[in-house]
């Protein structure tokens, strides 16, 4: 392996204070991706858009799960972008045993795989199910809830890009209020998706009292991997909800995926937390709080809020800010993080 000194740039990994996965860190802190001996569960050459957060999130989550499972992993996939861009026949990007059945049944199919492994005495084989927010929070929700309720031995990962991207950016129950999608178009004073409470599946998952629930974002891949590791150290039903910006659906620049994922967390709209058996066990404090506007402005799906003549835009922005503030209060996100306490 070539020596990499601090002055050298690390190929395809970010460097700097918010560094992820790079080889500048001491080995214990490096991500799975920084290792050349990682499993490479999803090979390159797939057809995701440039800057796709879902491709990135899936790669990190699956490789971390592979390492945690000692490569004894089976993946089940719901229909959606991830499935389509990784398996253009006759090719496949998956280097793990992988099964796609339907849009709404990944949780149940995974439960079946887990049952088969149990009955065959192959407890070492672990099962990971995955889907987009549509396949998880909408059409697959019944199967997901059933999987939680039975406490099937499956880690379910939801890649939340906040809409149905594979079919051309339509609203899902995870689409944020006011966002423009193909089925919540902006017209006169109708500002995209209406305000509602949406469907907060991490909290609903917690209500099932399953062993582990967590949220993560592709801006903090160390954190994402740590959560996959924690999840994989447990048995039973586990749920991980990952925010994965989608340049196509969000109308954002390909190079802004990580920045937007970070801003979503830092403005408070996407709180990062972990819960075990229905109780919150950890939340990730915000390092540098930003107003929601900073997160919303670079995205074309919110462009109507920033037109000078936009009706109700001020009120809409205030309501979104209030949602972020509520999260910050609820999860106490502005308390000092442990590492900052030490230097304070």
């Amino acid at each position: 392996m070539p020596q990499t000194g601090p002055s050298q740039t690390v190929k395809f990994y970010q460097t700097g204070t918010l560094t992820v996965g790079n080889r500048l860190l001491d080995p214990a802190s490096r991500t799975v991706q920084s290792s050349e001996s990682r499993s490479n569960a999803i090979t390159c050459g797939h057809r995701a858009c440039q800057g796709c957060g879902e491709a990135l999130g899936a790669r990190y989550a699956v490789d971390a799960a592979m390492r945690a499972a000692n490569s004894q992993l089976v993946c089940v996939n719901a229909t959606g972008c991830l499935e389509v861009f990784t398996t253009p026949y006759p090719e496949t990007s998956w280097q793990v045993p992988w099964l796609h059945s339907l849009f709404g049944n990944a949780a149940a199919v995974a439960a079946g795989v887990a049952a088969a492994m149990r009955v065959k005495g192959r407890q070492e084989v672990r099962v990971l199910a995955q889907g987009g927010d549509g396949g998880t929070t909408d059409i697959g929700f019944g199967c997901l809830s059933g999987m939680f309720e039975r406490n099937d031995d499956v880690l379910y990962v939801c890649y939340d890009n906040q809409a149905y991207m594979n079919t051309g950016v339509q609203r899902s129950s995870a689409t944020p209020p006011t966002a423009r999608t193909a089925t919540t178009p902006v017209a006169e004073d109708a500002p995209g998706n209406v305000f509602g409470t949406g469907k907060n599946v991490p909290l609903i998952a917690m209500a099932h009292n399953i062993p582990y629930v967590a949220t993560a974002s592709v801006a903090d891949l160390h954190d994402l991997e740590a959560k996959v590791n924690r999840a994989m150290s447990l048995r039973g039903a586990r749920y991980l909800h990952v925010l994965v910006p989608c340049p196509l659906g969000w109308g954002s620049a390909s190079h802004d995926t990580i920045r937007l994922a970070r801003l979503a967390v830092e403005c408070g709209l996407f709180p990062l937390f972990e819960a075990e058996h229905g109780e919150i066990t950890a939340t990730k404090p915000i390092r540098r709080r930003v107003p929601v506007e900073e997160y919303l402005r670079p995205q074309r799906r919110f462009a109507h809020l920033f037109r000078p003549d936009a009706p109700h835009a001020g009120e809409a922005l205030a309501r979104i800010q209030a949602m972020a503030d509520a999260n910050i209060r609820r999860f106490d996100l502005l308390r000092m993080s442990d590492d900052r306490k030490e230097t304070a």
């Binding site: 496949t92 099964l99 059945s101 079946g112 088969a116």
Partner: protein
């Protein structure tokens, strides 16, 4: 072992003897006793090495089955009617993925109006889904077909549906020879999947396929069913070798020798038909019957050669292809195309209406004289339908049809 036993219980015991490794189902009448029986066998330890999953819907039930079968476990499920439709998307998926799942379908009508009784509407709704579809005539055959179904499914890597008439078979207590474990073990080798999810040899299953290969994939599914035309009789013959009785097969004739009129049907109604034929034979009518045991694959050639000598064919349908006639009759017409046989569609027994020997023989006697092809509804209450049609024509807001029909029948004492 000979037992006086409920059909569902006998089927549950036979399925258990096949050593399924994952069972996952959702209750619906008239399938319930089968899955309850299996739950009991798993719970009390008589069926070991089996995971029994309780799920939240039929869609989940078949989805779990898809996962477990793809992971290499012998997998069983069962449903009926609305349940089959609720799992419909997964029904196509299971066959598309080539997964050898065995499913019992306790045949039942589909609503609205809701009706729990037997007909074949549910099976006909999935006739083109790519499953092998077998129909049982008796409870003995229902038991035997399940054992053959696992062989067939695993040999061809294709799901198999065993159709059993709801209530008429599932709930009937009669004499059944429930096989011994040793016999089943001789007949049914352990499941060796052709494609399996295993980290030791990773494969992708269920990839996206475009126009460049979809036709070929579909062709191969069809080819598999054509192979089943050979496999079904071969497996039935092997079954006879081990268990000592004839059961299953593609089709079975009854008193077909020099029959001018042949009644074609599927499932338990054959009992009534055979009795009717015996009576009519005694009265000098040249009548016979043909049971279609394998509806998918449909044995076109065999049906043609069995029916060619007959002057007329009456296809007794326990389904209605609304706006068309009957599903089975259209298949029989296809088998006989280019030949002079008259084919009558007789829609009977919808939603559990009894099919009586009297009505059937009356119809057969008329058909011997009748020169035209017809679509006939056995025992249709024409008075009621005509009155309802007239009322609907007169009243714009004519209200709910089923409820009006019921009221009229109740008021007039017509039924």
């Amino acid at each position: 072992m000979l037992k006086q036993i409920e059909g569902s219980r006998a089927m549950a015991e036979a399925i258990a003897l096949c050593r399924p490794e994952v069972i996952c189902a959702y209750p619906i009448t008239p399938q319930t006793h089968i899955v309850e029986g299996l739950a009991e066998l798993v719970r009390d330890g008589r069926l070991t090495g089996c995971e029994y999953l309780n799920v939240e819907s039929e869609f989940a039930a078949l989805s779990v089955a898809i996962g477990s079968s793809a992971a290499g476990a012998r997998t069983y499920t069962a449903t009926s009617s609305q349940g089959l439709l609720f799992m419909m998307e997964a029904v196509y998926n299971a066959s598309g993925l080539g997964l050898p799942i065995v499913m019992t379908l306790g045949n039942r009508a589909i609503g609205a109006p809701i009706n729990i009784w037997n007909d074949h509407s549910d099976a006909m709704a999935v006739r083109d889904a790519g499953w092998i579809m077998l129909f049982a005539e008796t409870n003995q055959e229902a038991v035997d077909l399940h054992i053959q179904a696992f062989r067939l499914a695993e040999e061809l890597s294709c799901p198999v549906m065993v159709n059993v008439d709801g209530f008429i078979l599932t709930h009937a207590v009669e004499r059944v020879d429930v096989p011994e474990q040793i016999q089943v073990d001789t007949f049914l080798p352990p499941f060796e999947p052709v494609q399996v999810l295993d980290p030791r040899d990773p494969v992708s299953i269920g990839a996206m396929v475009g126009p460049e290969a979809f036709t070929e994939v579909r062709y191969l599914a069809h080819h598999k069913q054509m192979l089943a035309l050979d496999a079904i009789p071969r497996i039935a013959a092997e079954f006879k070798g081990v268990f000592g009785r004839e059961s299953g097969g593609l089709l079975r004739g009854y008193r077909m020798e020099d029959a001018d009129t042949v009644v074609v049907a599927m499932g338990s109604v054959m009992g009534t038909i055979k009795d009717t034929i015996d009576e009519m034979r005694d009265q000098g009518h040249a009548v016979g019957a043909l049971h279609i045991g394998s509806f998918r694959p449909f044995p076109l050639e065999e049906v043609r050669s069995a029916l060619l000598p007959a002057k007329r064919v009456v296809v007794l349908e326990k389904n209605l292809a609304i706006g068309m006639g009957g599903v089975l009759a259209s298949h029989v017409r296809m088998a006989l195309r280019g030949h002079g046989n008259r084919v009558h569609t007789l829609v009977a027994g919808l939603g559990g209406r009894p099919i009586t020997r009297a009505s059937l023989s009356r119809f057969l006697a008329v058909v011997e004289q009748e020169p035209h092809n017809t679509l006939h509804f056995l025992d249709l209450n024409t008075e009621v339908v005509e009155a309802e049609i007239a009322r609907m024509a007169q009243t714009r807001r004519s209200g709910p049809i089923a409820e009006n029909v019921l009221r009229r029948m109740g008021a007039g004492g017509l039924l």
